[in-house]
Amino acid sequence: MIRARQLGRRFGDKRVLAGIDFAVRPGDFVLVTGPNGSGKTTLLRLCAGLAAPTSGELELELDRAEIGFLGHEPLVYRELTALENLDLFGRLYRVPERRERIGMLLERFGLWEDRCERAGAFSRGMLQRLALCRTLLHEPTLLLLDEPFNALDQEGAALLERELAELRAERTFLVATHEPERLGALASGRLALA
């Protein structure tokens, strides 16, 4: 699904990624680990097509509609309500039965009561949950999650683990995380960046 040969990315003079070779086949659950600044986020942005590699090649057999990306930023408009945000992205991704799917996701992530609340009024954890709803909204086949657990409370983390376990069977994952042992059971491979 994703194949990288000698992938590299440099920001000005700083070389963040150099000579990375990896392949992710459909159905894999690859963990990307490494200290801060090792380029985990850059790698995910490269796979999502948000950044272009400055050296090496990256092949991606999916088009943008099948990729779900969760970054450090929740990527939701603070001025719009949770419902409006998901409705906006639902239309852009042309999600069938948009309303039901949004309702189900908000319900599942415990945001149903605050659905008419401005996203700006959400706490950091609630924003992370809303971002997860946005990422899973269009049922992407490839999920790129960048430290999905940060800012989630106990209940949120449990919700996410259940969700990931459920989707593990028919989805492909590339997850950057600091606690690989939490997802160790699900992982089918690991890419350690130094």
């Binding site: 999502a48 097509g49 948000l50 950044a51 272009a52 088009d63 943008r64 509609a65 990729i67 990306f69 970054g71 930023e73 929740p74 990527l75 939701v76 408009y77 603070r78 001025e79 719009l80 409006e84 906006l88 992205f89 239309r91 852009l92 991704y93 042309r94 401005r118 946005r134």
Partner: protein
């Protein structure tokens, strides 16, 4: 057809954001009226002659600059451009959606600015040709301005950079607009404005993808 749906979705999103925050249009309105008042005091004897139209156009251009400065504010501050770029829609739909919303803001502001100009200065200058000139120039301002706003928002000094990028490019619009209002036969100027809009709309539409992606 779905391209237009995306454009409508994005434009509605911008309009809803503006309705919710209500910060761009009021600011542009106050700015244009205060600019006209300042021009009156700055150039007292000019306020009757053809130069008065020039003052109107300077006010319109800088108000547009103010509005464009805020065009990609939400996207840049919350990093939302990534969200839009990730969506499967054509990237130029983002540009067209933003252009339409900017155009709506500009027209709203001019709906107040033109009567105010007629009130403060002499109303005889605002004929149908002048209004047609303003509308055609708005098209050009919105199309090119949105692309340049996207460019400027990617840089560190975005408030500084946008005027530098914007002003040289809109000089032809200024010439066409003022000409349409002052000259006895405005047809040539309106034609030139139309030509400008056509050329730069196509160029901006085609090149927006490269401005927001790598």
């Amino acid at each position: 057809m779905s391209y237009l749906v995306d454009v409508a979705t994005l434009a509605r999103k911008d309009l809803r954001l503006e309705l919710r925050a209500r910060d761009t249009v009021p600011a542009m309105l106050l700015f244009v009226v205060s600019a006209l008042v300042i021009f009156h005091f700055a150039l007292p004897e000019e306020s009757s002659g053809p130069a008065a139209v020039g003052l109107l156009w300077i006010a319109i251009l800088f108000t547009a600059l103010l509005g464009l400065g805020r065009a990609f504010m939400a996207e840049r501050e919350q990093g939302l451009l990534d969200g839009l770029v990730l969506a499967p829609c054509d990237r130029s739909a983002i540009w067209l959606g933003k252009t339409l919303s900017t155009l709506v803001f500009l027209l709203l502001v001019e709906a107040i600015a033109l009567p105010a100009f007629a009130l403060f200065f002499d109303g005889s200058r605002i004929g149908p040709a002048a209004i047609a000139g303003v509308l055609l120039a708005d098209l050009g301002i919105a199309t090119v301005g949105t692309l340049l706003a996207a460019m400027a928002s990617a840089s560190r000094a975005r408030e500084l950079l946008l005027p530098l990028l914007f002003l040289p490019v809109v000089i032809p619009l200024l010439v066409g607009g003022v000409g349409a209002a002052v000259e006895p036969d405005p047809a040539r100027y309106l034609g030139f404005l139309g030509l400008y809009d056509l050329i730069f709309a196509i160029l901006s539409w085609a090149s927006f993808e490269y401005v927001v992606t790598e």
